[in-house]
Amino acid sequence: MAPAAPKSGDVIFASVDRVNAELFTLTYGAIVRQLITDLEEVEEVNKQLDQMGYNIGVRLVDEFLAKSSVSRCVDFRETADVIAKVGFKMFLGVTASITNWDAEGTTCSLILEDNPLVDFVELPDTCQGLHYCNILSGVVRGALEMVSMKTEVTWVRDMLRGDDVFELQVKLLKQVPEEYPYKDDE
């Protein structure tokens, strides 16, 4: 039986129930504001957003795999491509582009020109160290960890800090395939 062809991000995005984008932006904004009030330190807020994103990512990846029917990626280039074209499109409705591949093919940058999380947002002077969209870095890290890839995801460019686009650097640290406790010499 032939496997189902992988679906494109647009098709899946169109087929799921959608919510008002402003509700999404407002909800996220409320979360960040509350975290700032509770934690006070900008670095703590960044960490917490990343952790929240991680918890979302570990659950989101199965949804992504189930709905998009993508097959196993051959290398990290394909993985990054799938995240940018299908993943981001499916969940955020925006397509990211991939650039800045390093020589070994283990580090790349995801460029987001449009980001629904930051509609109407301006960072005040008191929050200059804040990575407002840090939840996204956690989501990517969490999702990739569930498919055996340990990664480091950091923001390189941030539109809220004056840059022209959002640039997320994804670095593959190592592949950790499932270890089975069967040793050949036992």
Partner: protein, 141 residues
């Protein structure tokens, strides 16, 4: 006539997180089902090493005289397998559908702890509907 005998879901470490049986034959108690799940997890792993072809991802179908066992492993390591009557069609599609139900009703439940036994009523309900639909379509042939 139950074409589907039972359904198991195993987490990535081999622990049974969901077990449902639909037939009266071969009904097992909790310990037996846990043992069977770990057995299957091990066999699935060993089969990847035994395979003469590289790039094997494990057993997808086991055919015996009195039952068929269809197994689907997600890329995240969670295994879904169903024991059914020999020759039951569409089991792979059913497993994919159950995977989708899992991602919706189990993973999106914020109170569900990852890798723990599934105790989500909504999942049970939609699973029952999916299996019932499958049963009806099988009878209709």
């Amino acid at each position: 006539m139950a074409a589907i005998y039972s359904l198991y879901i195993i987490n990535k470490s081999g622990g049974l997180i969901f077990y449902k049986d639909y037939g009266s034959a071969g009904r097992m108690d909790t310990n037996d089902s846990l043992r069977l799940a770990s057995l299957w997890h091990s066999m699935h792993a060993i089969s990847q090493q035994l395979s003469p072809i590289s790039g094997c991802f494990g057993i997808e179908l086991l055919q015996a005289d009195t039952f068929d066992l269809h197994c689907f492993q997600s890329l995240t390591g969670t295994k879904f397998f169903v024991v059914c009557e020999p020759g039951t069609p569409h089991m792979e599609n059913l497993l994919k559908h159950i995977y989708e139900l899992y991602t919706d009703y189990v993973l999106k439940n914020p109170f569900y702890e990852m890798e723990m036994p599934i105790r989500c009523e909504l999942f049970d309900i939609s699973l029952a509907q999916a299996v019932q639909k499958e049963r009806v379509s099988l009878l209709g042939r």
